[in-house]
């Protein structure tokens, strides 16, 4: 894990340096050297391989070229436009760093987990309601088949992050006119929540790898595109809650993400706070 911390620190430094450098209109060298240091550090980090280097180097390379070109230009409108793009790139890198830090923390067990009785059925209905308008805007049908009164002993924020990541993916990867179904049941001591769709699905050989950091089926990267960390977070959070997640082929024709969680210990279900 220390690799990630070093990298995160470096990257923040680079992002800060990029703006400072731009404003000062000099120190081209320092960005260049930070960039090669970053590449060196990330490439030497075995656990995460070349992917991180690639993922962070790509926006840095774009930043570098953008700033360099703009510096040759005296037009203040162009400067403004560049600064706005720089800001977008930095925000993208910040969210990668945040996700990596969160992942590191979750996997090392250093993340505070506030378990309490949560009415999962209500929480899922709320999340459907949160995503409903966005799904409609993308011309997707979003349906819920949620059994009533499913209780789990879990952290509400982590649960919400798990399902919001899965719905976020469905909204991104299922083409217009598609169908997305969120279903939940409790059987015995286990709660099963499935987010499935009739989109392109995940090829069988990728169904395990897709949960690894930076794995994306479409490796092209755009400033607005995802980093490939969402499913890694889902996995880490599910494990923190003593559950798990796996990918399968859905009966609907696309991907099915199946989250299992332990049901709350039997007894009188307590109301959700």
């Amino acid at each position: 894990m220390p690799g990630i911390w070093i990298m995160a620190a470096l990257l923040l430094g680079v992002a800060g340096a990029a703006i400072g450098f731009w404003l000062a209109r000099r120190r081209q060298r320092s960005l260049e050297s930070l960039r090669s240091r970053l590449v060196a550090v990330t490439q030497s980090s075995r656990q995460t391989g070349d992917n991180i280097a690639h993922d962070l180097r790509t926006p840095l390379t774009r930043l570098h070229a953008d700033v360099e070109t703009t510096l040759r230009n005296e037009d203040s409108e162009a400067h403004r436009a560049t600064l706005e793009r720089v800001l977008t790139e930095i925000q993208g890198m910040q969210s990668i760093i945040s996700a990596l830090l969160t992942l590191g923390q979750a996997e090392a067990g250093g993340m505070p987990v506030k378990k309490m009785a949560v009415n999962l059925s209500l929480l899922l209905e709320e999340i459907l309601e949160l995503y409903g308008p966005s799904a409609e805007e993308r011309q997707l049908r979003l349906q819920g088949r949620i059994a009533l009164q499913i209780m789990v002993e879990a952290d509400r924020q982590l649960l919400a992050r798990i399902f919001s990541n899965l719905l976020d993916n469905a909204l991104k990867y299922v083409p217009a006119d598609g169908l997305v179904v969120l279903s939940a049941t409790a059987k015995g001591g286990e709660v099963v929540v499935t987010v499935e769709d009739d989109g392109p699905g995940i090829p069988a050989e990728m169904r395990d790898r897709i949960f690894e950091r930076f794995t994306r089926l479409d490796p092209s990267r755009t400033p607005s595109g995802g980093a490939g960390l969402g499913l890694s977070l889902v996995k880490a959070f599910a494990k923190l809650l003593q559950g798990d997640v796996r990918a399968e082929a859905s009966r609907l024709g696309g991907a099915a993400f199946i989250v299992t969680l332990p049901a709350a210990a039997a007894g009188v279900p307590r109301p959700v706070p």
């Binding site: 969160t102 949160l130 976020d168 909204l171």
Partner: protein, 227 residues
């Protein structure tokens, strides 16, 4: 109005000071916990911005000490992600709001203004009727009218509008809306909030004039009558 920033990263503190000064506030700076405690005790501040990780004495213990002395100045707590990333601890120590670094300045400014406004308007009973321009909402009967005409809102749209009305004239960020209306303390990436807002806007602005609900680029939303 004077604010106190207790933050050991001098460069970050200076940037923050400059930003807040440009927004019309006077700003005192302290770079460690002990110094911050002294300056806060000396008084005269309408709000404290306190970083948790501070040299000499950490931010939470500074705030606890101040609260134990009965000082009620609103406090915004800053925490670095992956450190004491615990909003509950922060709020328990007496914080009124909590932000994780790195944050956008626009986000911090919106929260500062919300806290200042909250502390100014506290006291008096809870409002059950909120009004802005010709828009009225009744929190008891949960009804909304504009120019006397009844508007039907979904429960969540109602809560969104209530939140915007409570902060009328001030920018409310997406993150603040997610926290207040949905109680989610993370960023769900997709533009989920924007879509809810645009539905609300359809209902309260489309058939009326002037438009009241505005988008502030790179920041959030605000209810105001534009000049």
């Amino acid at each position: 109005m004077k604010l106190l920033i207790i933050e050991d990263d001098v460069a970050a503190a200076n940037l923050l000071k400059r930003g807040l000064e440009e927004s019309g506030y006077a700003v005192d700076l302290a770079h460690d916990g002990e110094q911050g405690l002294k300056q806060a005790r000396a008084g005269g501040h309408s709000l404290w911005v306190i970083d948790i990780m501070l040299p000499v004495r950490d931010g939470l213990s500074v705030l606890k000490a101040l609260r134990d002395e009965g000082k009620g100045t609103p406090a915004l707590i800053l925490s670095a992600l992956g450190k004491v990333d615990d909003r509950v601890e922060g709020l328990r120590a007496g914080g009124d709001d909590y932000m994780v670094k790195p944050y956008a300045f626009a986000e911090l400014l919106a929260r500062v203004e919300a806290l200042l406004r909250r502390s100014r308007s506290s006291g008096g009973g809870p409002d059950t009727l909120l009004e802005f321009a010709d828009l009225k909402i009744d929190l008891l009967s949960r009804t909304v009218t504009r120019a006397g005409q009844k508007i039907d809102l979904q429960p969540r749209e109602f809560s969104l509008l209530e939140c915007l009305m409570r902060h009328a004239g001030q920018v409310v960020t997406r993150t603040m809306l997610l926290e207040i209306v949905w109680e989610y303390f993370f960023d769900p990436q997709t533009n989920v909030v924007d879509v809810h807002i645009s539905r609300l806007r359809q209902k309260i602005d489309k058939n009326f004039s002037p438009p009241l609900l505005h988008t502030v680029r790179g920041s959030g939303y605000v209810l105001r009558v534009e000049a």
